[in-house]
């Protein structure tokens, strides 16, 4: 059987892990087969969890989250017959497939939408834990905003520096209010479970919000502008489908072009996304896919041309 290991925050974080979980579920429903899963409680359990699955004979073993990189690098060599997939991290090993997402591209699109929806010209970003990955979200978002409105202001806050930052909806809520007080009328939450508090408060306070990872539009219908989709579910689904034959030893990048990232449009936000908005964004998406617009990746040089952290 294949197996999936979730990151801290758990499979029902309404965000990243949940997206992975959905992919696995979809596979199970379609194939009628079963898989193993595990939610770790702390960083120190990572290696133990990987080994537990490998020794149990699960194959492939998919893990979602950048934090898996080091423990996987440690363990992978001991199980040459097991195929591993790591999402958001890079491990150079024969039996590991590394999957990265071009978050900056998806964020760019929702940034454009934010700028167009904003009346005040000020938009917000609330990140989870302050790490390069999240800064990349912020940077892509800011680039999208500036592309629409050169003068727009982007207020960015990170929830914290510990993994607890993924799970602090109260803090998310306060940060949202703080940004509202600074004039923001659209906030983008890239903060895992913390984002639930962001979206909640935005809805309570009558401003728009943007979800992340999964489609979060349904959380507050009519009040979530869109969600930056990071199709972790697709990666998990495909990995499970391919099974033991999965190609390893390389890096796979999920972009706008190959459907890895995108923005969500459904009945919950249909009224919020104007035709004009949609047209502009789709055009940009095509341009990015074609390489005509290049969105700067924060990770490439640990800096962002349009904002500082």
């Amino acid at each position: 059987d294949p197996a999936i290991i979730f990151d801290l925050g758990g499979k029902f974080d309404k965000s990243f892990n949940e997206s992975a979980h959905n992919g696995a579920q979809r596979w199970a429903e379609e194939t009628g087969e079963s898989y193993n899963e595990f939610e770790i409680q702390s960083d120190a359990q990572r290696e133990q969890a990987i080994r537990r699955f490998a020794e149990n004979g699960n194959n492939p073993v998919v893990m979602a989250g950048f934090s898996w990189a080091t423990p996987l690098a440690e363990a992978a060599g001991d199980y040459p017959d097991t195929k591993f997939v790591i999402i958001d991290g890079v491990v150079e090993a024969e039996n590991v497939q590394s999957v990265l997402f071009a978050e900056e591209q998806g964020s760019y699109l929702v940034g454009m939408m934010a700028a167009m929806a904003s009346e005040s010209g000020t938009v917000g970003f609330i990140g989870g834990m302050d790490i390069p990955l999240i800064r990349n979200f912020a940077c892509g978002y800011a680039q999208g905003v500036k592309a629409v409105n050169e003068d727009a202001e982007v207020i960015a806050n990170m929830t914290g520096t510990t993994p607890a930052a993924w799970n602090d909806p109260v803090k998310g809520s306060e940060l949202t209010r703080a940004q509202i007080s600074q004039g923001a009328d659209v906030v983008y939450a890239a903060a895992g479970g913390t984002g639930v508090g962001v979206l909640q408060t935005a809805a309570d306070e009558g401003i728009l919000s943007i979800g992340v990872d999964s489609n979060q539009n349904y959380l507050h219908p009519g009040q979530v502008l869109t969600s930056m989709m990071k199709r972790v579910d697709n990666v998990v689904y495909q990995s499970f489908m391919t099974g033991e034959d999965i190609e390893t030893g390389g890096l796979r990048i999920m972009t706008l072009d190959n459907g890895g990232v995108g923005y969500a449009l459904d009945e919950n936000n249909a009224e919020l996304v104007t035709d004009e908005m949609k047209a502009a964004v789709d055009e940009a998406a095509a341009a990015i896919a074609a390489g005509e617009i290049s969105v700067h990746n924060y990770n490439s040089d640990e800096s962002c041309p349009v904002m500082s952290f």
Binding site: F38, Q48, T70, A75, I131, P163
Partner: protein, 366 residues
């Protein structure tokens, strides 16, 4: 009035209390619709069922021995050091700095250096609350808790900045050099032809912990400073009369305590992760309190209690595979119940048992 025979005091009462804790935990399990017998079975099997399980159990045991000893040393001076968590975290920082500083040629050189790094940093982190307690009377319980938060923030800051491996997401340091690798049980037992799981994290730190327990025993019950620590703990007022400096005792006890807590990092940071990660302490600092209480602040008892808690931890981990309906936090519930029954509610069982012994005694005398 101590009418309980010693064996009843140190064996019978704790055993009854642990049993009570498990009974209540069992009720919780029943309440969420699961079978408590299965739970215990899978936990024991998960903790001792294979050399891999044993390796993990001993690995956790090692942590708990260190943090338990840390709490006990301070507790003998009646100082509630709730700061094991932060002291271990900063101890890890100390060990990591030492191990990252140079390319260590061999673990026999790296280990003593890391021990110094971990214990000096751990002790340093305990020193400020100790000083504030001794000199300014600030309640050590609160200050050490605050230092847990501050320690975590410092570690977070450094792992996001100075110590972070460039270009990576995870707030963790780069891995230590090969030479800093500590022999694990597999490597240690192989020469004797004993097969032990290759990847189980138990390592030579386990023996370091046992050694520390023996040293703590000598320190507390055989040395002069230990005498002073116990005297101060039993009767702070009396130390003035005897010319024992309360400031000195408070600070020394806390330094030793912090150093021991810091040593936990040898097991985790050096022995298992081989790099500095965030939150590697995983509550072991807090669990040290329970371990020490159960072990009645005595090194021998602490080693046994640490093993029990190690089993719980590892058994609880395995339980998630066997009974995914039971959240791993169940382990925390069991541990909390053990603290409640063996720590806070001791007299609930002790009083009646004492009465029984008193009656038997009177009958015997008559």
């Amino acid at each position: 009035m101590n009418e309980l025979p010693r064996w009843a005091d140190v064996v019978l009462v704790p055993l009854i209390n642990i049993a009570l804790a498990f009974i209540v935990a069992g009720l919780v399990v029943l309440a969420i619709g699961q079978n408590p017998i299965d739970m215990v079975y899978f936990m024991v099997k998960g903790a001792l069922g294979s050399t891999s399980s044993i390796g993990y159990t001993l690995y956790y045991t090692t942590n708990f021995i260190f943090t338990g000893l840390a709490f006990a040393v301070a507790m003998n001076a009646k100082l509630f050091n709730i700061g094991g968590e932060g002291q271990a975290a900063i101890g890890g920082l100390g060990a990591a700095l030492v191990l990252l500083a140079i390319d260590w040629p061999h673990w026999t050189l790296a280990l003593p250096a890391a021990i110094i790094g971990a214990s000096v940093f751990g002790a340093g982190w305990a020193a400020i609350p100790a000083y504030l307690q001794a000199k300014r009377g600030s309640h050590i319980v609160i200050t050490t808790i605050m230092f847990n938060f501050i320690g975590a923030a410092i570690l977070g800051y450094l792992l996001n900045g100075l110590l972070k491996k460039p270009g990576q997401q995870v707030p963790e340091s780069r891995s230590f050099s090969e030479g800093a690798h500590l022999p694990n049980f597999h490597e240690m037992l192989q020469p004797f032809g004993i097969a032990f799981n290759k990847s189980a994290p138990a390592n030579i730190s386990f023996f370091l912990a046992i050694g520390a327990a023996i040293l703590v025993w000598l320190l507390i019950w055989r040395s002069r400073i230990g005498y002073e620590i116990r005297a101060f703990g039993n009767s702070p007022g009396a130390t003035l009369y005897a010319g024992i400096s309360s400031v000195r005792v408070t600070i020394i006890a806390m330094l030793i305590s912090g150093a021991l807590a810091g040593m936990m990092a040898i097991n985790v940071v050096m022995g298992e992760q081989e790099r500095l990660i965030k939150d590697f302490v995983e509550g072991a600092g807090f669990m040290g309190i329970a371990v020490s209480l159960m072990g009645r602040n005595h090194p021998f008892g602490i080693v046994l209690a640490a093993f029990l808690f190690g089993m719980l931890n590892q058994g609880g981990f395995e339980l998630m595979w066997e009974m995914p309906e039971i959240s791993r936090e169940m382990v925390l519930v069991i541990q909390a119940l053990i603290i409640i029954f063996t720590g806070a509610l001791v007299n609930m069982t002790r009083d009646p048992i004492e009465k029984i012994f008193l009656r038997l005694h009177k009958k015997g005398a008559a």
